[in-house]
Symmetry: D2
Subunit: 351 residues, 4 copies
Amino acid sequence: MTSPQRKSFGSDNHAGAHPAVLRAVTEANAGDATAYGDDPLTKVAVGRLREAFGAAAAFLVFGGTAANVLGMSLLLRPYEAVICAESAHLSEDECGATERAVGSKLLTVPTADGRLTPDLIASRLAGRGNSHRVQPRAVEIAQVTEVGTCYTLDQLRAIREFCDAHDLLLYVDGARLANAAAYLGCTLAELAACADVLSFGGTKNGALGAEALIVMNEALAAAVPFHRMQLMQLASKMRFLAAQFVALLDDELWLQNASNANRMARRLADGVTGIPGLQIAYPTEANAVFAALPAEQISSLRQDWNFHVWADLGDGQNVARWMTAFDTTEADVDAFIAAIQETAKRGHAVS
Amino acid sequence: MTSPQRKSFGSDNHAGAHPAVLRAVTEANAGDATAYGDDPLTKVAVGRLREAFGAAAAFLVFGGTAANVLGMSLLLRPYEAVICAESAHLSEDECGATERAVGSKLLTVPTADGRLTPDLIASRLAGRGNSHRVQPRAVEIAQVTEVGTCYTLDQLRAIREFCDAHDLLLYVDGARLANAAAYLGCTLAELAACADVLSFGGTKNGALGAEALIVMNEALAAAVPFHRMQLMQLASKMRFLAAQFVALLDDELWLQNASNANRMARRLADGVTGIPGLQIAYPTEANAVFAALPAEQISSLRQDWNFHVWADLGDGQNVARWMTAFDTTEADVDAFIAAIQETAKRGHAVS
Amino acid sequence: MTSPQRKSFGSDNHAGAHPAVLRAVTEANAGDATAYGDDPLTKVAVGRLREAFGAAAAFLVFGGTAANVLGMSLLLRPYEAVICAESAHLSEDECGATERAVGSKLLTVPTADGRLTPDLIASRLAGRGNSHRVQPRAVEIAQVTEVGTCYTLDQLRAIREFCDAHDLLLYVDGARLANAAAYLGCTLAELAACADVLSFGGTKNGALGAEALIVMNEALAAAVPFHRMQLMQLASKMRFLAAQFVALLDDELWLQNASNANRMARRLADGVTGIPGLQIAYPTEANAVFAALPAEQISSLRQDWNFHVWADLGDGQNVARWMTAFDTTEADVDAFIAAIQETAKRGHAVS
Amino acid sequence: MTSPQRKSFGSDNHAGAHPAVLRAVTEANAGDATAYGDDPLTKVAVGRLREAFGAAAAFLVFGGTAANVLGMSLLLRPYEAVICAESAHLSEDECGATERAVGSKLLTVPTADGRLTPDLIASRLAGRGNSHRVQPRAVEIAQVTEVGTCYTLDQLRAIREFCDAHDLLLYVDGARLANAAAYLGCTLAELAACADVLSFGGTKNGALGAEALIVMNEALAAAVPFHRMQLMQLASKMRFLAAQFVALLDDELWLQNASNANRMARRLADGVTGIPGLQIAYPTEANAVFAALPAEQISSLRQDWNFHVWADLGDGQNVARWMTAFDTTEADVDAFIAAIQETAKRGHAVS
């Protein structure tokens, strides 16, 4: 599927690891280290994550789904529910992991652009105190959302205030948090300030495979080690997860990586704007471009390029998702734009 | 805790990764690859695992606990139970992961040396058909066991026959399966022949962190991808798990690694035999030496050496567990033997 | 809340037990009986349920939620999902019991009148074979639905055919199955023919508290006793649940009870039709009348009468739910109609 | 199996309901009542239970297993474990309900006579703070135990003190709490004082089927309604459960019932003492007599009498369990004693 010559726009996890990450892993391989996180490098990684986020605690896990489920385990008892967007990764793309691990229901809300608002959250608060209904206890938002949009700091504050006023805890799925920080030009700590618990994704940002769970609300930290183990997320040779985060935090490599990915998405969005029959479907704020175009044209493009069809709009129009990565180059983007233009012309010719 | 000069005998996961594994991971980093296992390298790794085991299917996961829980998910409904040794990792060292993920009870049996026998299994079969009792449905054994012993092929066959005769499925925790193969001088396929499902550990055998779930019973394979995802074990950049297994399978590196570890344990056991006050507690068949010796002597040794205290025998005697790894050297072992002899002498002098 | 003089229209479970049911319970109290269902009366009840439904097996449980969750336990593995109406009791009114007991996600669909159709079911079948998505495995419908409508036998057959064509199992929540049979003029067996598993409600039909799980698909029956026990639904003195069903089955008391309730709802619906400002919201097919009327009028009525507000339509209009029971009389209904007319007049006068 | 002429000694749940209980249920059937516990009679029952126990809250459920699982849901997170006797109903006789509903492991301890002691509890406290191990968080004891023994108030206090000193919560399975109060001559409040949560059994004490969950630790009460619903234990027509408890509490009927049962067990134990070859296996403190006698004699007796074989001692000796109920009469007991004597004589004659 992946063509060796052409950059994949399929997902930011089609990219490999950043060379600095691999180097750090290789260097971490010297000698023995006590397992399960009781090693010096893990202490460094955790310390630096805590510092960057102003967090009470930080924990490393294998993947983004795991971070989300671990977060939900901290926030919910089985009869309590989390309010999230209908498009949330937690709800749509994790094979029901939260339902199984926590036993909780997800209360989903349709959104215009992947972002919850206080009003949308309020729409799922019915039934509190009624024992026939699951009890809303937490809100989950993704920063970046599934459709590539970001919450502004003001929007985050508004949600936090709503949560405080309504006795709700807030979890942020930060699989692409770096891209949000790059877009908003703010620090990780500023993004995290709204949350009780959040994840910080390494994998889509140039790691081999590593995510961090960041606990802002100190009262929730003590249970993490046990949930992490019980949820099969305690790495045996933890130093190799730690090394990846140390590399990403050095010289803000995470920010450089995210900034490049965002810039390439911006370039792609700008480059395709004005192509006849193509409409940008969501604001391009991070490293994804969503574009509506004829289904035929999409099929034609996918013969040579790797990307996902996000939605079928009917009437022969589909939405394509094009993602950029830390290692996407201007040449990659320009070649892709040219190909899109080419298929658009052919499409025109045909019709 | 770990002294940089002295080899850790704390666990085989205190060792780092074999250089060939790191090399393979680095090589796998070239270009893009479709995520979640739909990449060429994963196909190679899975194909070679299937071939080595004569298996219906093979799947990569992050860790050994995960492989065990995934295996249990395939074999058990919530009211069904697995019979295992009281010392089983599944029961003692996984923070109740099976209970949470599957909802099932573990029916444990005390064993003399970590090994179940048909008679021991039979002792937990009461209550079948009685709806007040959990229903025994599977047997779990570890090869190598938690106390470093191995099941012979005959013992495995006897358990398999018992399982067949009593409508039980068989799971083998193979976190150290390589060490068992090295000890028994048999193939992985010969070890796997008895099992419906088993794990094959990479992490303790020189990987960065990777385990395989091997499915011998074809009827059980179709559910694995969904359980794996729901149990948060689907690696995003799967190629990096695959690369590790490809490296371990190349030229039977797994066997070389295990053989070295076993040989070093044998050397250690031989070297400490005859030290006054020291008794080998379990047969040294793989890469662990269990030795009973005075608690004081253990404390003294642990000031300089990293290893676990396995059990307190009372009367001032404890059992120490000394594990060797793929990269333990003869010099490491000899230095450790010398230290044990030294503390034994001092111990004598004192008493 | 309940006025002793005025019949409750709040729910069919506000009514007590039918005298014949109480009599049967009292008679069942003679002498000893082996516990947990191994008694003669339970055998009679189960035998007569199997006969009435043409079922492979029948099991008694305490409540309707329990029957639903037990049914889901038979049909689903944790990564498998059930497709149901957004309004389904299973989803809205059971505090997430299925999510907790089974670990599965519910795939809900908005419906016009509580009824699923093949097209609506088809709308939730996406993602089959994709391990990131829960796998649709079963369909759940309620007969009678939450808004008092019934599936015709043709509609049931169409859903069954769709399920067969798409490898889906079918569960019917029959908490008010008796009312559907009374409305459709068909047998219980005809209603059950479409289902793999269904429930048959006693509680809302004049029992003290008893429901039956009816298993049509023989392959699913063997696991029931264990799930029932593990889900805390095995009655110790089962004869007292059995007695209730024997009484309801005698002389088709269940049908008499349901027919009366339906007739009273029909009488109520007819009696309020034409009242200014009042609109029947859903077809009155069983024992519930849903009527849209001004919120003020509803508040006024509820000062004296017990019933639920079902929905807020905005613009000062709400939907009221009025339920009738086996023991609702014509006089009860006529008094209620008069009260509704009275508040409607006052409402008019005010505006 | 049950002979109509001969009283069952099989279990106290082989007895029916006390006439006063049935009367109360019948009286509760007058008119409508709001469902799910929002009715006057439930308020009365709950108020009187709270008063009798000095409890923060009380809740009605369908059965004893449900009360236990609901209790565990209040006390445990999935990675936390409960320490209980190996013979505990929770562990042996509930088909793994706690494992499924809570996800927790049970840490069992062998006991001499069904009673835990501080020392026995202490033996399962290892591994606290170690994330590989489940974390002991609660202790479960049964009062009366599974082998018919009672904890004295001093023993309860000692366990409570141990729990307080070791940060453990205490749950008491009181399926036969009435029998313990009768034996010890103390109040329900005195028995409950040690506990955070306990159950109070109605079913084995003359109810049709009803148990109460008594919450002493106020902080734990708020979650009960939601767990109760999610665990399928919220009775629709709750007044009928309430009526049973009101009847049992009137004039301390619960105590009369338990006292009779205990007295009959005492009479039985006294009557069989001295029969050659028969040994009382556990102290007869409540309403059960455990007697070791030849297996042949047991088989012979069971042709005419209903009771359970508790254990096989080997060497042809088994332990029989003989239970008495609220309605067991002196004549019942004397007839049974005569039968036992008769089989003993025949046994002698044969051998």
